[in-house]
Symmetry: C2
Subunit: 223 residues, 2 copies
DNA sequence: CCAAAAGTGTTAGGAGTACACCCATGG
DNA sequence: CCATGGGTGTACTCCTAACACTTTTGG
């Protein structure tokens, strides 16, 4: 019987203040006491890996029904000085509308950080975060996962800013909108959002039935 | 302390007789006694996940230095009636030149099967195989992983047959070759292979230094 | 009327696809 | 000389990328 323990870690990402940010928790105990870390915990005997990830996510953010995807499993001996721990890592994409609920929990030792300039992280968490960011960039270019980072109603500029924040580069407005239109997954609403002394922007929503069709075209990744 | 055990399973794939085949082992004991299964075993306390996968691979095939990539971790409670087992799955691509060594080991209860029409499999192994095949198809279209399925020297028709076997469709010879040329990863050799009463085909080899450049272009997947 | 973001088309280059014939060899 | 797989080019379509101005609003 092996003494290997199984944990899940969840890289929780959201767009805040126009930037891609990651939710980290401060470690209360050794090892790496006081360091920031990706939230996670041990898998319980009777729960699935995905349930464990969802549970961790909900404990940290108070949020359910969030985009969650398995990333990679890290299990080198020595990655955790407490013993042999295999960590099945997930990443979660929060819509900016879902972020508020979190504040209620244990805000003192949890915080949002710029995902591309994180503080020093505990264990091998820097590597995990790097891989999550890499995967997110790929997903954004080849799937419609980017909409998970937005609230239900959003403007075309909102979604463009998501892409710019994650891909870390400027995009051309006209080309971006043409590509969006080609995807045919947005439903323009008869609502507009006024943001100050400018022309109000039209709100759109992601259309789930068109989304399903993309799967058939093979545009979406399975996991 | 959790009683979860950690295993690795390795989906071993190769092109044989022009078809994509998978190496399966026959289970000696219950549960699923006599059923075919994806080879795997428990991770030892002191070895990394990848070492464990390599070890399993070598035990089954006698082969080292093979393309090996982590696929996904499966860990639903109940997936194994013997208890809670989390399986970190890998897939391995064997070059057709590497297949011969295998025969020496325990051939009686191991065999190659058409990957797209496998026999009934033990546990949730059908799902694992499906996912491996899906991943392989994506990799083939977006990376140069297909060359792992060939020996060092091969003809352009050889590589086309690999693509046709994995993607399960016919490809146009001229278009395929043009795309290959664009990738610029092949080095034509001054050697030819005669296959009978036809014009001999020129041999090529995969050029590793050009391969590295693809990484920079983002064409290759990181894992 | 001014500042600020919203919204909108055209063109040129590159990649993908469809398609058919001659070449070199062994028997 | 013939059967067999090896090898090659062109035309069309579609996607991508570069690029600038008018519209609408609040102040």
């Amino acid at each position: 019987m092996s003494a290997i323990r199984v944990a899940v870690d969840v890289v929780i990402l959201a767009i805040r203040e126009g930037k891609l940010q990651v939710l980290l928790v401060k470690r209360r105990y050794a090892p790496f006491q006081g360091r920031w870390a990706i939230p996670g915990g041990f898998v319980k005997e009777e729960e699935s890996l995905e349930s464990a990830a969802q549970r961790e996510l909900e404990e940290e953010t108070g949020v359910r029904d969030v985009y969650l995807e398995q990333l990679y499993s890290f299990g080198d001996p020595g990655r955790d000085p407490r013993g042999r721990i295999v960590s099945v890592c997930y990443f979660a994409l929060l819509s900016s509308g879902d972020i508020a609920p979190k504040a209620g929990t244990d805000a003192a030792d949890a915080g949002w950080f710029a995902a591309f300039q994180p503080p020093p992280l505990a264990f091998d968490h820097a590597r995990i975060l790097d891989y999550a960011l890499l995967r997110l960039r790929y997903k954004l270019e080849w799937t419609t996962a980017g909409f998970q980072l937005l609230p239900k109603k959003f403007t075309l500029t909102d979604i463009q800013k998501v892409y710019e924040a994650v891909l870390n580069k400027r995009l051309d407005k006209r080309n971006f909108r043409r590509k969006l239109a080609l995807l045919d997954v947005l439903e323009p609403l008869h609502e507009y959002r006024s943001e100050g002394a400018q022309r109000p922007a039209r709100l759109h929503r992601f259309s789930a039935k068109k989304f399903e069709l993309l799967k058939d075209k093979g545009i979406l990744f399975p996991f």
